[in-house]
Amino acid sequence: MEKFMIPAAEKILKGDKMLKSIDTDVFESLRTKNVDALIAAKNSGSRIIGMYCAYCPRELILAAGAIPIGLCGTVESAIPDAEKDLPRNLCPMVKSSYGLAVSDKCPYFALSDMVIGETTCDGKKKMFEIMESKNIKDVYVMHLPQMPDNNVSVDLWLSELRRLKDYLGKKFHVQITDAKLREAIHITNEEKRVLQKLLDLNQQQPVLISGMDMLKITYRIGFHPDRKEAIRLIEQVADGVNRAFPAGDLKTKRILLTGTPVGIGSEKVIKLVEESNALIVAQENCGGYKNVGLHIDENDPIDPLLLMARKYMKIPCSVMSPNNDRIDLIKKMIRDFHIDGVIDLTWQACHTYNLESYMVAKAVKDDMGLPFLHLETDYSQSDVETLRVRIEAFLEMIN
């Protein structure tokens, strides 16, 4: 559209280095380092398993001695490759994930010995079928139950965890012992603990870390091949935060972003909010705060797979019905992070998040009395200016 620059964007583009509370450079450099480290690990005989979703039981992968790695799905340029096989009117995340896989543009997918998917939403489960039919990768799909309050869901998920355990054991000729599982549970707990420690820094007033900087950290760290090193890096940045350089002042509007996942490449809403001089203080989504609070009691002596099954059934994803935990989490985050307004982001054609927005709007507007904005968009830049109007008008409502 118009060739102009809004002042904040200009400042960033000129490369004026603002003094910040944290140094994100180390995470920026992970982009290339992560791939190099993964290639080195693969060459020395390590198994790599790609994951698409927070429901993927990473503890089982770790206990099998393999490297769990997040797969990409936030890149717009992969969508045309996907649209050769998939309908256009489909969630951009599903299309991007598929496009990156079949076009061999995602190094993490290419390096994976197998990928694990789940029957989360309709788009994903049917996409996995088509991906499997391409015979480019071992695609393993888990049957995710969707009524978390029903006891049979834990039973079904437990049997799915056992099926995966057997599969990994046979495929990689390893024995997944309870001791290994407990160690993997500990590592995963630790990762969630340090991540929450980092994200909780933004409960401070003024806000310490911008939404864009936080995204750089949480996104890049997801591709780190060494979970222990990832934990160390996150804790280091959290402990090293310099409170003298907050990302905003006491008047800066504090926005909670909820809804579909955001990554580097699909960050346009975060960018627009922060170009409009507000801050995304916290994100209730996968990759953000959605599951950092889910912790397994390491002293509980029962079957570790059962402990895991119970934990995964508590992830408040919109595919679950009912999904009351998400509403409770949003309300808690509004209080803990001193939120002034909530933006609910839905990727185009994501029915579950789109429908659930009705409940979120009610909770935010009626129960919490805060301004609420629902945005439905895709990865393209074509609607950036109309989104900007909506976001600015939403921020004008906060006084």
């Binding site: 102009f4 109309t386 008008a393 004008e396 409502m397």
Partner: protein
């Protein structure tokens, strides 16, 4: 005191000069391909104590120092409509390329709003294209539709491009052009009123923006929503008026 409100929209640019009590000057020109130059010409030789820009070109005006502050069209329409009708509670604005419904609190602040999506269906642009297909000026389209003897022809396409070919084939089938024109209006009204119902509406209901100049649109909306619809004398300048008043409020430090 003299303040300016500049509303750079997709089809027209409106300028309002405000002395704190009255509109002292108002202008509406076509946006064209150089909105900055058009705006500069409108404001040339004038000194304003403050100016506020709104509309799609608001940031363009702001970075080129035509305005010292920007507000969105949503807020501008709320402030402008509240000035003209202090009891306004719902605003429907249909402009050149977008439409919006704004719910206003009793004090004039925005309570809730909704805008059309990426597509220009249900906006002034749709009417312009349909007028062209019927060989009419945009000013003639509304009166032409009001002369229809019966009900309007049902138009099934919402997409501007598809609707245009549908109109052409309806005419080719021998349908009366008045009924086709009425059908065109009805299809926009159906779409817009669905958004109005979604946001919720209360009297007083103000209809503004360039499309409010069309008498058929107003009649159909009143009929569809069963509520009296107020159209400002000059519906195209409501956003610019809101911006000019906002500039005055900024000067006096009045809370928004």
């Amino acid at each position: 005191m003299l303040t300016a409100g500049l509303d750079i929209g997709s089809r027209t640019i409106a300028l309002v000069e405000w002395d704190g009590m009255h509109i002292v000057r108002k202008e509406v020109v076509f946006t064209g391909i150089d909105p900055l130059k058009k705006s500069q010409q409108l404001m040339a030789g004038k000194h304003y104590d403050a100016s506020v820009a709104t509309g799609y070109g608001r940031h363009l005006a702001s970075v080129n120092t035509l305005a010292n502050c920007v507000i969105t069209e949503i807020k501008a329409y709320a402030v402008g409509a509240h000035q003209l009708f202090p009891d306004v509670r719902t605003i429907l604005d249909i402009g050149g390329q977008d439409s919006k419904v704004i719910q206003v609190k009793p004090d004039g602040a925005v309570a809730n709003f909704e805008m059309n999506d990426k597509c220009a269906a249900g906006t002034g642009r749709f009417l312009e294209n349909m007028a062209l297909a019927l060989d009419l000026n945009i000013e003639q389209l509304g009166p032409h539709a009001l002369e229809a003897s019966g009900k309007g022809v049902v138009l099934s396409s919402m997409c501007t491009v598809f609707a245009e070919s549908e109109v052409v084939s309806l005419i080719g089938r021998g349908e009366d052009s008045h009924s086709v024109a009425l059908g065109i209006h009805q299809s926009i009204v159906n779409r817009v009123c669905a958004v109005v119902r979604r946001v919720g509406y209360h009297p007083r209901f103000v209809f503004a923006g360039g499309v409010a100049l069309n008498p058929c649109m107003r009649q159909l909306i009143e009929h569809e929503l069963k509520i009296p619809v107020s159209v400002p004398a000059d519906p195209q300048i409501v956003g610019a008026l809101g911006a000019a008043i906002q500039a005055a409020n900024n000067l006096s430090g009045k809370k928004n």
